[in-house]
């Protein structure tokens, strides 16, 4: 019971974090470095899951995955499977990833990127060899936050994946189920575990933020990270 929920939560959280991490990184770079029409609107839309009720997010996702959606047309039926739970978790984790990576990338001195361009580097190489290594702390913090948020997703998951033990019942849903059924020991164990995980993630995020990126070549700070 507990083992099933944990295994499922791990699967859902990792998948959701990878998805939110990649999209969040791309969006973060776009928002930090590019100027374009509708930028503020896009940023607002990306942040929306932070404030929308989970049921509203779940409703949108239902429409997006339901039997009249593009996914359904393509023959992909994810409703009430773990991928649906992963998608819901990714959507609520995305704003945190976007915010963190945007701030981290904006903190990288653009002169360093320009220096790399002058030396013959293309945009992809500039991003992976200059921007990303220099923004890695903030980006890692974003991944952790998005992961922690994804792990805790409840409402939207319930709407699109249900709470099928062993198939879609993640840890937060299992806690609800255990409380409803009066299985106090199970609830206590899962609550404690969730709290420890959340606390640890936030602690690491705080530590990452305490030592900001080395912004320029003349920063007097001591050696911190390993070779990039």
């Amino acid at each position: 019971m507990i083992g099933d929920a944990l295994r499922l939560s791990l699967l859902v959280t990792v998948t959701a974090t990878v998805v939110a991490g990649l999209f969040g990184l791309l969006l973060g770079r776009l928002l930090a470095r590019q100027q374009f029409a509708g930028k503020t609107l896009l940023e607002t839309a990306v942040l929306l899951p932070l404030v929308l009720p989970p049921s509203v997010i779940g409703y949108y996702l239902l429409i997006g995955m339901g039997n009249r959606s593009v996914l359904s047309w393509a023959g992909v039926d994810v409703l009430f499977t773990w991928p649906a739970a992963a998608i819901a978790s990714a959507v609520v984790g995305l704003p945190l990833m976007v915010q963190a990576s945007k701030a981290a990338i904006a903190g990288v001195n653009p002169t360093l990127e320009n220096a790399a361009r002058v030396m013959g580097a293309g945009e992809i190489e500039v991003f992976f060899r200059i921007t990303l290594p220099l923004a890695r702390r903030g980006i890692l913090a974003g991944v952790l936050l998005a992961g922690a948020r994804a792990f805790g997703e409840f409402g939207a998951t319930l709407m699109v994946a249900g709470s099928i033990p062993g198939r879609t019942q993640t840890v937060p849903l299992a806690i609800y189920d255990a409380v409803q059924a009066g299985r106090t020991a199970d609830a206590n164990a899962l609550v404690l575990l969730t709290t420890v995980l959340a606390f640890t993630s936030l602690l690491v995020v705080r530590l990452l933020e305490k030592q900001p990126e080395r912004r320029d070549a003349r920063s007097p700070r001591g050696e911190t990270g390993g070779p990039a």
């Binding site: 001195n109 002169t111 360093l112 320009n114 220096a115 790399a116 361009r117 002058v118 030396m119 013959g120 580097a121 293309g122 060899r129 200059i130 290594p133 220099l134 080395r214 912004r215 320029d216 070549a217 003349r218 920063s219 007097p220 700070r221 050696e223 990270g225 070779p227 990039a228």
Partner: protein, 383 residues
């Protein structure tokens, strides 16, 4: 360093850069025309004059509104003129660019910084070490930038800029972050490097000392325009306008009336008679602006006979201020007509004399050091 490839040598035997660009940045308009061959051309001007923007347009980091940039006959940029528009991305221009504060990658060692610029060349590691060796930095190859001093960082930045086998080396205020003794060595080394590799060096600075130390030619940039361009000594000795004289920090400006012309010109500067070299373009009664070169104001030893250096324009003045630069001492003296001028001499000159603020001093203005400036527009007003 061996030149692995030289794609742009076809344009001629000598490296050549020509630039003619216009660019508007907010309310500021830049219109710069420059030609440069091997040697050090100093782009001189106050901050905000557009110097860095000029370098950025050459490197491909800023786009002019129109104009043309050619390096060894290769078109880097062309817009608004035939035949076709060109805007080569920075990575294909591959000029050497030492940016302000050097822009070394903080997450890479000195050797890795240079290896990055070497791209996918074979034996990158070996070549990176060789480049570091050429700037006497081989022993610090594995240090990160923040473990290096300002001068060491500058050497790494120059080695990195040379990694692309470039003909053009751009430097933006390269001596701003280093102390005076280190600066002199770096300046010597840069000169040697330029000669050895036959480079076109474009160096941006707002410090006259740097310009003199490394420059062959100087282009004075003000309000988005090149006000004067030429061999550095010429520009300093003969500023084309009062504006150039002011930008160059040549403080000793004199607003005088031409009292007499002939074998020597006599100027009347608020009651003070000054002898200046003959100048056929001057007419008696005209009001002119002249410049007294601070190096041509000599101090007269009270106990020595007057030599040829101190035979004209001998005046009794009072020292009102003393300051010192890296290699010169500058006195501010008040003349009998109430105006102040600056006197500049090497640190060790006049050692026997006590030259302190408040003390009287007898000075002599060499005739050759009084230069009537052209009647170009006064840059403080308009332009």
């Amino acid at each position: 360093m061996t030149r692995a490839y030289a794609p742009s040598d076809a344009g001629g035997p000598h490296p050549h850069l020509s630039l003619d660009i216009e660019k508007r940045v907010h309310a500021f308009s830049l219109h710069v025309r420059l030609e440069a061959g091997p040697g050090v051309l100093v782009l001189f001007g106050a901050s905000g004059a557009g110097k860095t923007t000029v370098l950025n347009t050459i490197a491909g980091l800023a786009r002019p509104d129109r104009g043309e940039i050619l390096v060894n006959g290769r078109v880097f940029f062309r817009r608004g003129r035939p035949p076709s528009p060109v805007d080569l991305p920075a990575r294909l221009r591959r000029v050497g660019y030492v940016m302000q504060d050097y822009a070394l990658f903080p997450h890479m060692t000195a050797a890795e910084n240079i290896a990055f610029a070497l791209r996918n060349t074979a034996d990158r590691e070996t070549k990176a070490r060789a480049l570091l060796d050429r700037v006497s930095m081989a022993h610090l190859a594995d240090r990160r930038p923040h473990q290096l001093s300002g001068g060491q960082q500058q050497r790494v930045a120059i080695a990195r800029a040379l990694a692309g086998d470039t003909h053009v080396l751009l430097l933006d205020e390269p001596f701003a972050a280093v102390d005076a003794p280190v600066r002199e060595r770096l300046q010597r080394d840069l000169r040697a490097l330029q000669r050895e590799l036959d480079l076109i060096v474009l160096l941006v600075t707002h410090r006259l000392e740097d310009a003199f130390a490394v420059g062959d030619r100087i282009a004075v940039l003000h309000a988005g325009r090149i006000q004067q361009e030429g061999p550095i000594e010429d520009v300093f000795r003969r500023p084309a306008s009062r504006g150039v004289a002011e930008i160059m920090g040549i403080g000793n400006l004199v607003h005088a009336r031409v009292a007499d012309v002939g074998p020597v010109t006599t100027l009347d500067w608020d009651g003070l008679r000054l002898e200046a070299p003959a100048d056929p373009s001057l007419t008696p009664g005209a009001s002119i602006t002249a410049h007294i070169r601070p190096d041509d104001v000599k101090i007269v030893y009270p106990d020595r006979p007057a030599g040829p250096q101190v035979s004209h324009n001998v005046l009794d003045a009072v020292i009102v201020g003393v300051r010192q630069s890296a290699n010169a001492r500058i006195l501010r003296v008040r003349l009998p007509n109430g105006h102040d001028i600056e006197v500049r001499f090497p640190l060790l000159s006049y050692a026997p004399l006590s030259l302190e603020a408040g003390e009287p001093v007898r000075i002599a203005l060499r005739r050759e050091g009084i230069i009537a400036l052209g009647s170009s527009a006064d840059l403080r007003h308009g332009n």
